[in-house]
């Protein structure tokens, strides 16, 4: 048996233990990325192998939390994939404007960059006071970071460029204050955002959403977990609601696909039918 095969066995055993002890289920995460993240975590720990670390992981919650952060931390950027946000502005907003109040679930929001992007977009499109974004992530630490809305100043150049390419109508610098080497987003952007911890692999759906964004989160899941999560989304969306995925994700070949139509080719925005076909 090769060392790599041994490592795979250790990871399987560890994930089973983590599930039984803490209830976090990573058994249906795709192996390659999971292995990469776990290996990075191990390198930064004082243990040589997963087997040696396992004893402490299963007994010490604080130590487990470091592992949890290592596995679940996602990164994004404001207005990531500008054509996507442009399509929201041009193709989805006109529909959303027909509702008195709009509810949006941003699942797997990580440190919040795309949540604030959506809040900015909605403010510019006249939704002030008429929307709520439920921003959730499995990782409680990144939720706290998302709540703060503070990002490295050096990122602002890229975020500004994304904003402009996404059809931004204002001046991006109006949305943050620079302090030392950080950019603090305008606190009022947070007024309509509710941040909460939510585990897509275990928790229940959110009701009556007009739009759900889950971008580049399910790329880390195996098929079965992906279908579970899409089922959650399908249950949570109102008829005529919008499901938004990452640029390289598609609903095709998925169980719920027949309930949806693609709004625009190559931009992964899907609209739920009014009647199930």
């Amino acid at each position: 048996m090769t060392n790599d095969e041994l490592i795979d066995i250790e990871i399987k055993l560890l994930m089973e233990g983590v599930y039984q002890v803490y209830g976090y289920d990573f058994r249906d995460y795709a192996e390659a990325s999971l292995r990469r993240r776990l290996t990075q975590w191990l390198t930064g720990s004082r243990f040589q192998t997963f087997s040696l670390a396992q004893s402490l992981i299963l007994r010490d919650r604080a130590f487990f939390d470091t592992l949890l952060r290592g596995i679940t931390v996602n990164v994004s950027e404001m207005f990531r994939d500008p054509p996507f946000f442009k399509a929201i502005r041009e193709q989805v907003i006109p529909y959303l404007k027909t509702y008195p109040f709009v509810k949006i679930w941003h699942a797997g929001c990580a440190t919040g960059e795309e949540v604030y992007s959506m809040a900015i977009l909605l403010m510019e499109e006249g939704f002030k006071g008429r929307f709520r974004i439920y921003a959730t992530d499995i990782n409680e630490e990144v939720i706290r970071k998302a709540q703060e809305g503070i990002y490295p100043l050096q990122e602002m150049q890229r975020f500004t460029r994304n904003y402009q390419f996404s059809g931004g109508k204002g001046s991006f610098s109006d949305y943050y204050t620079a302090k030392y080497d950080h950019a603090i987003l305008t606190p009022s952007l947070r007024d309509n955002i509710v941040f909460a911890a939510h585990n897509l692999a275990a928790d229940a759906d959110f009701g009556e959403m007009n739009m759900i964004l889950c971008r580049n989160v399910m790329i880390y899941f195996k098929q079965a977990l992906k279908d579970r999560v899409l089922g959650l989304f399908d249950n949570s969306l109102v008829p005529g609601g919008f499901l938004c995925l990452g640029t390289k994700e598609t609903l095709e070949r998925r169980q719920i696909f027949s309930h949806y139509e693609e709004l625009k080719p190559r931009i992964q925005i899907y609209r739920k039918h009014y009647e199930k076909k």
Binding site: D4, E31, A32, V75, D81, P82, I219, K248
Partner: protein, 196 residues
């Protein structure tokens, strides 16, 4: 136990950066339509690039060239390019995986990420190739391929438009073959046909 006396390769992985478009045109363009195993390619492209490079290469090559889709099963006679702003990885069951994990060696997609996952998935049944490029991305991944018993090819630095990626790889490991770009297609054919 293997029935054949030669090594049965399951996949080829390639890493390339500066000068990559020309290099891929030359290498992929010279492979026959029914090249018997899949090819995975990371070339450093700008985060906002579309699939233009894959479309261009597809029009110039006999093999099929496309951007990798999430959880797509890779097949022979096809080269899969990592999409802009995503890492490309591969699973043991030949399914492709994408990730938005942070840049590695300042790059996303990163050659190291692809190579390490492929080395893990295919062990000795893998051919890894580093070609022209600035920087050092891919060196560690190529070493991992070698450590797992795979075969490693490096473009001769003297032949490379930018020699730092090949040089960096050669500083870290002893390549099985150091060849010019235009010798790579024939070498690959010999390897997959068991003639070497």
């Amino acid at each position: 136990m293997r029935k054949n006396s030669f090594r049965q390769y399951k996949a080829v992985v390639m890493g390339v950066s500066t000068g990559g478009v020309m290099a891929l045109k030359l290498v992929l363009g010279a492979l026959p339509q029914y090249f018997p195993i899949p090819i995975l390619v990371v070339t450093h492209i700008k985060p906002d690039s579309d699939d233009g490079l894959a479309v261009l290469l597809d029009s110039l090559c006999s093999i099929k060239v496309k951007e990798a889709d999430e959880q797509e099963t890779m097949v022979s006679g096809t080269a899969y390019l990592a999409p802009a702003n995503y890492h490309l990885l591969v699973e043991r069951n030949f399914s492709l995986a994408l990730s938005i994990d942070p840049a590695v060696n300042f790059a996303r997609p990163s050659v190291d990420v692809l190579f390490e996952s492929a080395a893990n998935a295919f062990g000795p049944a893998l051919i890894g190739i580093i070609m022209t490029g600035a920087g050092f991305d891919g060196s560690k991944g190529l070493l991992k391929i070698k450590e797992n018993g795979g075969l490693v090819i490096v473009q001769d630095p003297a032949d490379a438009e930018m020699d730092s990626m090949p040089k960096s790889a050669l500083q870290l490991l002893k390549a099985d073959h150091i060849v010019k770009l235009n010798e790579i297609p024939e070498l690959l054919m010999k390897l997959v046909q068991g003639k070497i």
